[in-house]
């Protein structure tokens, strides 16, 4: 059992200082902006909670939030189910296992804007492998720059390509930790494949799956670089996710007040959902 020791705070101090420097100062700046109005020239006026009311009522925010939720829920469903399926199908030993794992980890280590650029080159209708094949071999009229549906599907497929491996690797780590004796016992009992999955594999994967869902939720909800490099938020506003819209307001229009208020609302939503996941996760630890 852990012992009570307040001196442990000294061990945590360096982390505390570094993270607080990076987190609290910018956060306070954002809070500061969110309650003021500026017309440039470094002049600020008290605006109270006006920006928060404005953002919460604005249709633009609702639309961006809607697109963001649709995106996050879609990729979570696809990546988690696909990730579990692939992890279950992976052999436990053999020469090819480490090769597969290394290849699977590769997309995770590509800079995010390169991921966007790569998918852009891959899907160009005239000279991209995927775009050309879809247009000339499959015979689908595919052009991401004109069709919102094509843009949406491409953004989602790109994210599945980019991040499913994280779920696979986490689940696989959970699966290899199950002792062979469990499977042998299940076999003696005549358990079906479903029963093995439901009562042996799934409970063992529960912790790692929660980590996967938590990481994927946080990162997909904050996603900016990849879809921005791929579609620029278009065509029209169709793939303008929350942070793309936020950057448009903050740096494009330089509306610091509304952008700051929006940031805080955005942060609060992420925080609330992640807290639910986190409590579920730590509840199991005890």
């Amino acid at each position: 059992m852990k012992t009570e020791n307040q001196k442990a705070w000294f061990f945590v101090l360096p982390v505390l200082v570094l993270v607080a420097f990076n987190a609290l100062v910018p956060l306070m700046t954002v809070v500061n902006y969110s309650v003021q109005e500026t017309f440039g020239n470094n002049q600020f006026f008290w605006a109270g909670l006006r920006w928060f009311e404005e953002i919460l009522r604005s249709e633009r925010f609702h639309a961006a939030l809607g697109r963001q939720l649709l995106f996050t829920v879609t990729i979570l469903i696809i990546e988690v189910s696909l990730g579990i399926a692939i992890a279950l199908a992976m052999p436990r030993k053999g020469f090819w296992v480490p090769v597969c794992l290394v290849l699977m980890a590769l997309p995770l280590l590509i800079p995010w804007n390169v991921v966007g650029a790569m998918w852009n080159i891959f899907t160009l209708p005239d000279i991209g492998l995927l775009g050309w094949t879809l247009n000339n071999v499959v015979g689908i009229d595919y052009n991401m720059t004109t069709s919102p549906v094509a843009a949406w599907i491409t953004v989602i497929v790109m994210d599945v390509w980019h991040w499913t491996s994280l779920v696979v690797l986490l689940c696989y780590a959970g699966l290899v930790a199950i002792p062979d004796a469990y499977y042998q016992a299940a076999k003696i009992d005549g358990a079906s494949n479903w029963a093995v999955f439901r009562y042996i594999q799934l409970p063992k994967m529960k912790t790692v799956l929660t980590i996967a869902v938590l990481l994927r939720f946080m990162d997909s909800f904050n996603i900016y670089t990849e879809p921005f490099t791929l579609t620029g938020g278009g065509p029209g506003n169709s793939t303008t996710l929350l942070s793309i819209d936020l950057v448009k307001i903050a740096l494009g229009q330089f509306d610091l007040g509304p952008a700051a208020a929006m940031s805080l609302i955005y942060f609060a939503i992420t925080l609330a959902v992640s807290w639910v996941f986190y409590t579920l996760m730590t509840k199991d630890d005890q």
Binding site: A8, P14, L16, C100, W112, V114, F122, A173, T207, L246
Partner: protein
């Protein structure tokens, strides 16, 4: 081969297709790219790579990225090791809240913090230095490193610590010569994750640098917009950004299966 092994195989092929296309593009001449679709490069050329290695603005981009990523990995691990030890061994006032607060910093959208970060690092005079990017990336890497290391450390029985004290080890000596070697897999995995998230992040790295410490990924976006449509060059630069990651994966290949569970299996 069992029939269901086909599933991972198809998945790996799907992962490799866009990477293959990037690789193929990087060996094509501009004429060939603009001339139309071709599955393999017709005339192999190394011009795109030659252009990168002969232009300092290009290759310094790589050096800059590698400098701040390494710096960040070292800082994150150095700070996270004692903190993770504290979380795994002791109860103290506010520990649970502190742990969650650390995690919340991974949730903060970088887009939200870009402008305040620029102002903060300009104010302390670190703008456009490698240290600025390395420190800024601590925001999301330290929490992750603490989380991973705490998982690995909790797996080490407390008796190890007690035996060492009985044998007369001082805490620093025990920590450096016994404890860290025991969890070296965890340290490797934490370093891998720090490297990974610092290497792939662009928004903050771009915001905090101008010339001196400009990362390779930012050089790419600027070239793409200023020099028009140099797809071959862009592809070659992209291929080169994949290589450091591939090298790092090779080093941690034996820990990937266990390590990705962050020590929590």
């Amino acid at each position: 081969m069992r029939p269901r092994s086909v599933v991972p195989l198809i998945y790996v092929l799907f992962l490799l297709l866009p990477i293959y296309w990037l690789l193929a593009m990087s060996f094509k001449t501009t004429n060939e790219i603009l001339g139309g679709f071709s599955l393999f490069p017709q005339e192999w050329t190394l011009d795109n790579y030659r252009a990168i290695f002969s232009d300092p603005t290009w290759y310094w981009g790589y050096i800059n990225s590698i400098i701040y990523v390494s710096l960040n990995t070292v800082i994150s691990l150095a700070a996270a090791l004692p903190a993770a030890y504290a979380f795994s061994r002791y109860r103290f006032m506010g520990d649970k809240h502190l742990f969650f607060w650390l995690l919340t910093n991974r949730m903060a959208p970088a887009a939200v913090f870009a402008l305040p970060f620029f102002q903060l690092y300009s104010a302390v005079g670190l703008f456009d230095t490698h240290l600025a990017v390395a420190l800024a990336h601590c925001l999301f890497n330290i929490p992750l490193a603490v989380w991973i290391l705490e998982g690995f450390m909790s797996g080490v029985p407390k008796e190890l610590d007690e035996t060492a004290y009985v044998d007369g080890y001082s805490f620093p000596r025990f920590f450096a010569t016994i404890f860290i070697p025991t969890i070296k897999a965890g340290v490797g995995v934490a370093a891998f994750f720090c490297f990974m998230f610092s290497w792939v992040e662009l928004l903050l790295a771009k915001t905090l640098t101008a010339v001196e410490a400009k990362p390779i990924a930012a050089t790419m976006t600027r070239t793409a917009s200023s020099a028009g449509y140099e797809l071959g060059l862009l592809a070659a630069a992209g291929v080169l950004t994949i290589i450091p990651g591939a090298i790092v994966i090779y080093f941690v290949r034996n820990y990937i299966a266990k390590g990705f569970a962050l020590g929590r299996v």
